[in-house]
Each structure stands twice: as C-alpha cells, then as structure tokens.
Amino acid sequence: MIARLVLLDAARSWRLWCASFVVMVAAALVALVCAGDVATARSLADPVDRAGLMNHAMIFGTMNAVVVIGSLWVLITFTVRLQRRGYALWQFAGVGPGTIRRVVLGQALVVALVALAVALALLPWALSAVMTVLSAPLRDIGAPPLTATLGLVEVLVAGGAYLAVVLLSALSGARAARSTPALLAVRDVEEPDRGPGRLRVAFAIVTAVLFVGMLVAMAFGVYGITSMFLVPAMLLVVVTAPWLVPIVMRGWTRLVPSSAPAWLLARETAAFASARSHAAVSLFTVTLLLGAFTGLAGLWDEGSDPAAGLAIFGTPVAVVLLTGTSTVLMTALGRRRDTALAVVVGSTWRTATAAAVLEAVIVVVTSLLIALPLALLSSTAALTSWTDPLRPVPPLAGVALVVMLLATTAPVGQVRRRALGPVLAGAGA
C-alpha cells in the first residue's frame, strides 16, 4: 500500500519533483566522476597525473557535495511544503504521520534511483569531458588525454554514497511532512511560514561558531584561511536564511520611501512568503559567493584557463542557479493566486506586473546585500585585492535578476490570459 502511495503520488506531483530530479542527476554524476578520478588515478604510474586527478576529485567533490546537499535539502523541503495540504488530507484518510514520512523518503529514493540511471547513461560522456579538460594542464603538449577507468566496485561505492546524501537531504523534508497539521486541509487562509526546525537551529549554531571562529582567527592575523573562508560563509547563509533574509529584506525595503501599491504588494508579499523568499535569496547569495570564489581563485585573471575553472566551479554554480530558479518557479501556483487576488481588489495589470518586477528586484538586491560584505571579507582572508571576488558578481547578479524576472512575471501573464474566477477558485491555477 505504501509503495503504491509512493509511486502514485510521485507520479501525480512529478512537476514538483522535476527540479530535485535534475539536481540529483548532477549529484550522481559528481559522485561517479569523483569515483572515476580516483579509480583512474590509481591505475596511473605517473605521480603528477595521479596527484592531479586526486586533487580534482577532492576539490570537485568537496565543492559539489556542499552545494548538492544544500540544494537538495532546500528543494525537497520546498517540494514537501507545496504538498502540505495533500498530506493533511491523507491524515483524514487515516494515513499516519510515520507513514507520511516514509512515503516522502520513498519518493526521494525512487526519484534518486531514476536520476542515478540517467547519470550512469551520461557518465561516459562526462568522464571523457573531465579527463580531456584535466589532461591539458597535467600532460605534455601533444600527449593523448587520460583515459578514464571505472570498475563496478567504484560505481557501487559512489552510487551508495550518492543515495545516502539524497536520503540525508530528504530527512528534513520528511520530518516536515510528518508534522503537517491535519487542520491545514480545512483551513482556507494561507498561514505564514513556521519557524525553522531543530535540525536547522543546530546546524545554524555549528556554522555560526565556525564562521565566528574564522573571523576571530582573521582578526588575530591567522591568514592561512585563504579563500576557503567562503565555504562556511555559504553554509552560514543557507542555514541561517530563515532568520537572516527577513531581517535584511525588511531592513532595506522599509528604507525605501514609497507608498506605491506595486511596491507595497511586492514588499509585503516577499516578506510574508518568507519560505519562498529565503530559499531564493539564500541560493542566489550562494551563487554570488561561488562567483566570488572563482574571482579569488584567479579564474578571471588574464592568462587563466577558463576550462579548468569550469571543471571545478561550473557544476556547483549551475546547480545552485538551477535550484534557485526552481524554487521560484515552483511557487508559480501561489503567485498566480496572489496576482488574481490583487487584480480582483482593483489592481490593474500594469500594477500587478510592476509588483512582480519589484519582487524580483527585492530578492536580488537582498542577495547582493548579504553576499557583498562576505565577498569583501573573503578578499581580506585570502589577501587579494578587494576587487578580485567582486568581478564575477555583476554578471551573476544579472543572471539571477533575469531568472527572477521571468519567474515572477510569467504567472501574471498566465493569469491575464485566463478568467479570474476559476483562478481564484483554484481550478485555473
């Protein structure tokens, strides 16, 4: 019965699982590529080649593991949040909280297995591309690129590690699903987001201690920290987002002396729907900080090899941008209803569109306000020019803004093409 519920519900809500699926494919590929690096390194006699591949496996694996765990955590939690009403209805049908938790974990596992199969199909191409890119700086000019070696044991170990990461990331979402109040099924009014769970509070304390420790070390002249300063900074942003984002967002938006209806709607909606706002803000902030990382690593300097930079930073930046975009796109249903509500009380379509544009601006500006001080601090930690980490920020902020604009204005256009009545009733949404 549970298996049936797992499969039928996952099939029904496949659109919501799409983003998690794509990130899971990336996660599985990362794990398999790292396994390929290690297996290939073991088979090589040349110590330089071997060290190069092991180094790539370590940096690539670490960078991506942090990003993938964070992204999956956000996405699965968000996917669960959007289905809370369904979980509440299940409870009226006699499905207990424990079963709901198992169903969510089961769904994550099913999606993860399908993603693993896709990743295995893509693996030969990915490994070949990575080996070609990594071979250039490692080998003599004209020498053939390294040939990847990957056995069944390595695939099983990498696959197992990947599945463990997915299940770990899904735990928080499964717990949230389990604790869905049954009352949600019968309440019409949208409630503000509840506070963070205990797991997040614990993580927040650990990362905050780590981060403050690094700041203290910097203040006392311990400069061995270098650009790795940004790793706990990114973790801190993701974990403390439910507290940090509303403070920063409320703080600067209150300073804007405007009483225009579009601004009021955008400001209050962004602040009220804090789950969707802080997910997007924290992910865009991490995107900007990853960009700062590439600046610190000198990837934008003259004469640097962009392919080598892409081999390390390309996947995490793409995964985080995709996750940020997905969290925004997944809120389209709520945004359509927000638009319909505003229009039915007298908003013109121009005002509704302006409110959507301003909400996008609010999210991106908030991301910048959080990312910029951390990026500047990172230049102090890494003893580089203060402009180094900032160089990639404008183009990445531009991409984030375009993504947000598309995601917030598209629902306005969709509602405009439909009758308002069915959208308000939920049928057309």
């Binding site: 709607l265 039915v344 009380v345 009733a425």
Partner: protein, 244 residues
C-alpha cells in the same frame, strides 16, 4: 442616473469536455439588477450559480450573450480597461474571503483605495473597519483572524471604494450561524441607494433576505420570486431540484 445597473441578455456558458463535446453550465440566462436591490441567486448544486456570478461580474467571460453594467458591455472591455472598470464600479466578497494574506486587515482595506486614488485616508480605512466592528484588529493579518472576522474585513474592503455593484459568492458558506447573520445584515444594509448587491447562496433563509430571488435549474432561470419568504424559496428550490 439609470435605474438599471446590470442587464444580462441570453447568457450562455459551456466548458469543453474530454472527448470533444462540451457541457452547458449556463443556458440563455437573462436578468436585470436595479439600483438599491439585493438580488439573491439560489439553486441546487451544479445549477450554475457561481458561474453566473462570475460572468455577471466580468471574472469570467460568457460563451454567448451580453452583460451590460452601467451601460457598458463587459465583453468590450479587456485587460487594463476591464481591470479599471472592476476597480471603479465593482466589489467582491467570496466564500473563501480572498484577503491578501501578506497584508494586515487595515492594509487589505486600504489597498483598493490606494489603487484607485494613489493615497489613502487612514481615517477612512479606520472608519470602514469600525463599520464592520473590527477597528481593534486593524494590524492583524488574515491568518490571525477568525473566519467571520475575515469575511467582515472582506466586506469592509469591498465597500471602501463605494462600488455600484457588490457581488457576493456564498459569503456565509464557511461561517457559523452568528457570524453568518452579521455578514448577511451588512450585505442587506449595503444594498441601498445607488448600490446593489448580487449574492449567490445555498442558504435559503439568506436568500429570502433578497428583494428578488432568482432560482436556477440546469443553468437556466427556473423561477424569479419577489420578496419571498424562506418557505417560498424552499419550495421553489425543492421544485427545481426535484424536476432536474
């Protein structure tokens, strides 16, 4: 000032169904709403009450027929012009309240005023909330209010802009008896002078508050009753249901 606020002529609405055919939800409905009237629409489930209200108010478009509000054919209005017309002349009250969850009760009432006039007279907002007995909850958000309070805020919001026509779709459907009675009294009171109220309801006692009651059956007007008693409405609806 014309006496007739709204005229619907031969209104029909059909929805496409899987397999290519369509289902007729409204068939040739014609009606008029005069100034100062409370018109209630009743009928068995699936008789097209809510669809009729949505077509009359421009929230949905009819497949055929016309709806004239204040001499303007709603079908000729699109996009911005329809949104402005709704803002300037119409008000809405829904069963599910449809307050904007991010805004406080006061901001929900102030929003249509702000959208219409640019600036907001805080005193007018306060007075609108006081009029529905909710001056004390001005700074609370919808999730902090009871269903009855939310519906009264929705009424305050819809009346704040002094609309010519107020549409109410099952406004007491989700309320307890006492809250429902308060809301109905407010709607009855709102239908005076230059303003009219069109209300869809399944509550026959509420329907009997109307100056006129339109009984729908299978998407068409089955009967029209002038100032009926609850018993007369019950009888008409029972007949409509029994002869389906």
């Amino acid at each position: 000032m014309p006496d007739v606020l709204l005229t619907a002529r031969r209104l029909s609405k059909s929805f496409p169904r899987r397999g290519g055919d369509s289902v007729d939800v409204l068939r040739d409905v014609s009606l008029a709403v005069h100034r100062g009237e409370l018109v209630t629409i009743v009928g068995p489930s699936g008789s097209g009450k809510s669809t009729l209200l949505q077509c009359l108010s421009g929230l949905d478009s009819a497949s055929s027929g016309t709806v004239d509000v204040l001499g303007t054919d709603l079908a000729t209005l699109r996009g911005e012009r329809l949104a402005r017309f709704r803002r300037d002349h119409l008000g809405f009250v829904f069963q599910s309240y449809n307050l904007i969850p991010a805004l406080t009760a006061a901001d929900n009432v102030a929003l249509p005023l702000r959208l219409r006039h640019g600036a907001v007279d805080r005193g007018a907002v306060r007075a609108a909330l006081d009029a529905v007995g909710l001056g004390g909850v001005a700074r609370q958000r919808p999730d902090q209010l009871s269903g009855g309070q939310q519906q009264r805020v929705a009424i305050a919001r819809s009346l704040a802009t002094q609309p010519d026509l107020l549409f109410a779709d099952e406004p007491t459907g989700a309320l307890d008896t006492e809250s429902g009675a308060r809301v109905l009294a407010m709607l009855r009171e709102a239908a005076t002078g230059r303003r009219s109220v069109v209300m869809v309801t399944h509550d026959l006692e509420a329907a009997a508050l109307g100056d006129r009651v339109i009984v729908l059956r299978d998407g068409g007007v089955h009967r029209e009753l002038a100032a009926p008693t609850a018993e007369q409405v019950l009888e008409a609806v029972a007949l409509a249901g029994a002869t389906r």
